[in-house]
């Protein structure tokens, strides 16, 4: 636990660092464009073709179409133009470097401000199209920032539509170029460190505990972290659009998949029933959105995950409220941010909080599992003690000893036989008592010794006939011994001999053991209560559950005058 506390402390530290980092950013100037983030190309004036005068603010573009659907390439002309007017208020300081940044415009372009070329990343008019820098910042000359109306015109290669569906093309305005990197890079630094920490922690937990849900959480963070890493690289290094395709490919696959992994995490973490069904439904929704709608809508899948975590809260799964709150925050954040097209997500805070809460839940689960493990160990120890006690039970020993005393006088040779059988039985029990399972031939030997002892005590003869047994098969110790003990107590009176039959039939994937025994003549149907659940069956069930958890079955009854107990073991 202490280790986890340290990690949380670190996570909190990272969160605070981000706050401090943002506080050092200079306050905004009294200058504003129509929108601080000019976003996206939708709503701009659009025309295919290439005329230099289209860069001129005076040019009348009223007959141009409105760029609504820019996903489809609707002309074969090599170059297209976009125009958008902005109203500027306020004034600029002499030291400022106001910039327009084009983001996700995949092919070569030129940007004109009030008819003046302020930036380019290549020649738009080439076949095949040129790639340029992924993020291109263009400085707007100070003299072109007078209050009033201005024009932004973009001349771009027509192949720009072949862009990544999720991330929209947009332009940002910043009143000072220096702010962009100063603001963005440290944040992503922290974000990357944070992601790495979360990934390492959850994967380490998975390796340590083999709990599938931690693996899924790790995968979720990897998927999400790849996007963060990508953004970080874009802002930190001049990366050509050529490599961007490859990087974007990764992001396009892993980032949306992170939502599926998130769903898997919740499914397994809260052990929600019908996992396969939920996974299939989630995948169906995901694939539908991914293929037929748009990748940027994939965060909608999170609502499904949110609903699953709500189920966990209603069904009082431990720590579910923490995960639910975190999920609620990120779900709303992502969906408002990306899907509703209000720009980027509202910030990293919801995600930080979510990761923190999820890790908190995980750590609580780990501590719970520790306690459960202790409990199980205790339970095992108790079973073992029971096992030993069952046969060195005082009454068994005392009755046997008294029988020996009696036999020494009347039948000394029987007394010796009894002492030997008792010694053998104790020796076997001593050897097997600490095992979880033993070879069935050992168990049969133990049963035979016990029958020998009981035969001498009851002045009768008991026999165990074994049929179809795989000697190397493993069973919990004293399983059949306990049942035979029960059978002798309840099926026979003194002087009544009896026969036990043990068989083990292997059928596809499971072994069916049957223990049958004849019932003495003095027994009436009334005595069948001897078959009822007693201490013996309780022990048998506990042992089976311990070694074949959930993969065993037991039934018993009376058939053709014989008692029988069937035990089915699956997946041996």
């Amino acid at each position: 636990m202490k280790k986890h506390v340290f990690i949380y402390f670190f996570v909190v530290l990272v969160l605070f660092s981000e706050l401090i980092g943002q506080d050092t950013v200079l306050p905004p100037y009294e200058i504003s464009l129509e929108n601080k983030i000019i976003y996206p190309l939708a709503g701009w004036k659009f025309k295919a073709g290439d005329e230099q005068e289209w860069a001129d603010p005076a040019y009348n573009d009223s007959l141009w179409q409105q760029s609504k659907d820019i996903k489809k390439k609707n002309t074969e002309l090599p170059v297209v133009w976009f125009r958008k007017k902005f109203n500027i208020t306020g004034s600029v300081d002499q030291t400022d470097m106001p910039i327009i940044t084009a983001i996700q415009l995949a092919k070569a372009f030129q940007i004109y401000w009030d008819g003046q070329l302020i930036g380019t990343n290549g020649d738009p008019d080439t076949t095949p199209p040129q790639y340029g820098d992924m993020i291109k910042s263009c400085i707007i000359p100070q003299n072109l920032l007078e209050p009033g109306e201005h024009l932004l015109a973009v001349r771009v290669n027509n192949d720009f539509q072949k862009i990544y569906k999720r991330y929209r093309i947009y332009f940002t305005f910043e009143n000072n170029m220096k702010n962009i990197r100063g603001k963005t890079i440290p944040v992503y630094h922290f974000k990357n460190g944070f992601e790495l920490l979360a990934i390492m922690l959850s994967l380490a937990l998975f390796i340590g505990t083999r709990h599938t849900s931690y693996f899924f959480f790790g995968m979720h963070r990897i998927g999400y972290g790849i996007f963060t890493l990508y953004i970080y690289l874009l802002y930190s290094y001049p990366i050509s659009m050529k490599y961007n395709d490859l990087m974007m490919g990764f992001v396009q696959v892993f980032d949306p998949l992170s939502y599926v992994f998130l769903g898997l995490f919740v499914l397994y973490f809260f052990d929600i029933p019908r996992k396969k069904l939920h996974l299939l439904l989630q995948l169906a929704v995901f694939i539908f959105i991914y293929v037929f709608v748009a990748i940027r809508y994939t965060p909608i899948v999170m609502f499904y995950t949110l609903a699953l975590s709500l189920w966990a809260v209603i069904n009082k799964r431990p720590s579910s409220i923490l995960v639910f709150i975190g999920l609620l925050l990120v779900t709303l954040d992502f969906n408002i941010g990306f899907v509703m097209q209000l720009g980027f997500s509202t910030g990293f805070y919801p995600d930080f909080i979510f990761v923190f809460l999820a890790l908190l839940s995980i750590s609580r689960q780990v501590s719970r599992q520790e306690k459960e493990l202790q409990h199980v160990q205790l339970h095992n120890a108790r079973l073992e003690a029971d096992l030993l006690k069952k046969n060195i039970q005082p009454h068994f020993l005392m009755n046997t000893l008294l029988t020996i005393i009696s036999l020494i006088k009347t039948h000394p040779e029987k007394a010796i036989e009894l002492i030997r059988a008792l010694a053998d039985e104790f020796r076997i029990i001593n050897k097997i008592s600490s095992e979880r399972t033993i070879r069935i031939d050992k168990e049969v030997e133990l049963c035979q010794r016990h029958l020998q002892i009981m035969g001498l005590r009851k002045s009768a003869h008991y026999e165990l006939i074994v049929d179809d047994l795989d000697n190397a098969a493993m069973v919990p110790p004293m399983l059949f011994h306990t049942l035979i003990e029960n059978g002798i107590t309840h099926a026979y009176e003194a002087y009544e001999s009896g026969t036990f039959y043990l068989s083990g039939k292997k059928e596809n994937g499971y072994t069916r053991y049957t223990l049958k025994n004849t019932v003495g003549n003095e027994h009436t149907a009334d005595d069948d209560k001897g078959l009822e659940e007693g201490m013996g069956l309780k022990y048998v069930r506990a042992r089976l559950e311990e070694s074949f958890s959930g993969k065993w079955g037991l039934d018993y009854g009376r058939e053709n005058g014989n008692w029988y107990v069937n035990i089915e073991l699956r997946g041996e």
Binding site: P394, H395, F396, L397, M398, N399, L401, L402, T403, I405, S406, L407, K409, T410, L456, R457, K458, S459, T489, H490, E493, A494, Y495, E522, D527, K529, G530, M535
Partner: protein
């Protein structure tokens, strides 16, 4: 003296028989062995005995049933068992002794000594008296009785609520297992001295004892003197 052994393991039954013969000698007039509950009940319905040596195998079937049957009988019950943790419970039902297995002649001798010593009184508190009638066996709280009147081979037990129960035991056998506060005040009467209102001379050389609830019981001259001594030491009881 007639003895019945109820034991489901023949070699042990043989040993008990032999040891009892050794201990009782010529006192023993008959000894029988049965191995099942059914045979034990059948035997008891057809024969009268003085002592039942019972293997109390409470983990087996009908352990308590047989115990209740046995203690409800006119004879005394001595348990011979390896289930020593059941001893306290057996005494609560009014057994005369509990002999843990394995045992020897000396230990069985002690148990029979209790039987022969008529002034023997239990130190372990009995809690239940078991009665047997046509409706079967009933287990009654011993604290509900206030006095007992002896008649031939049975005893009339009078309870707080005025109800009377017949107990299938001679009065000198019953007193052996009753708690100390029950005192035999007359050849034919046992009373709970915690419920005594007064006692004294009733004329013509007769003495009587009056209970809180008004019953007047016969009191022997020797017991009169004992009671006087008793209440001098413990005057607050009256």
């Amino acid at each position: 003296m007639k003895v019945l052994i109820i034991e489901d393991e023949p070699p042990i039954a043989d040993f008990i028989e032999e040891t009892a013969q050794q201990v009782l000698g010529s006192e023993l007039t008959s000894i029988s062995k049965v191995h099942t509950v059914e045979r034990a009940l059948l035997f008891l319905s057809e024969h009268s005995i003085d002592v039942c040596l019972l293997d109390l195998n409470l983990n087996g079937k009908d352990g308590y049933d047989l115990l209740q049957h046995s203690v409800a009988g006119s004879f005394h019950t001595i348990i011979i068992s390896a289930y020593t943790d059941q001893a306290v419970h057996a005494f609560e039902y009014g057994v005369l002794d509990f002999v843990p297995k394995p045992f020897d002649a000396e230990r069985l001798q002690k148990a029979f000594d209790r039987y022969f010593n008529l002034s023997y009184r239990h130190d372990l508190a009995i809690r239940y008296l078991t009665v047997k009638d046509q409706n079967g066996i009933r287990v009654l709280d011993v604290n509900r009785f206030k006095y007992f009147m002896g008649a031939d081979n049975y005893v009339e037990g009078y309870m707080m609520d005025g109800h009377m129960e017949l107990l299938d035991k001679p009065i000198y056998r019953l007193i052996q297992i009753l708690p100390h506060r029950f005192v035999q005040i007359h050849r034919s009467c046992i009373a709970d001295i915690e419920h005594v209102k007064s006692f004294g001379h009733a004329g013509q050389g007769k003495y009587t004892l009056t209970l809180d609830s008004g019953e007047i019981l016969p009191l022997s001259r020797s017991k009169y003197k004992d009671l006087q001594k008793h209440f001098e030491v413990n005057p607050d009881i009256l």
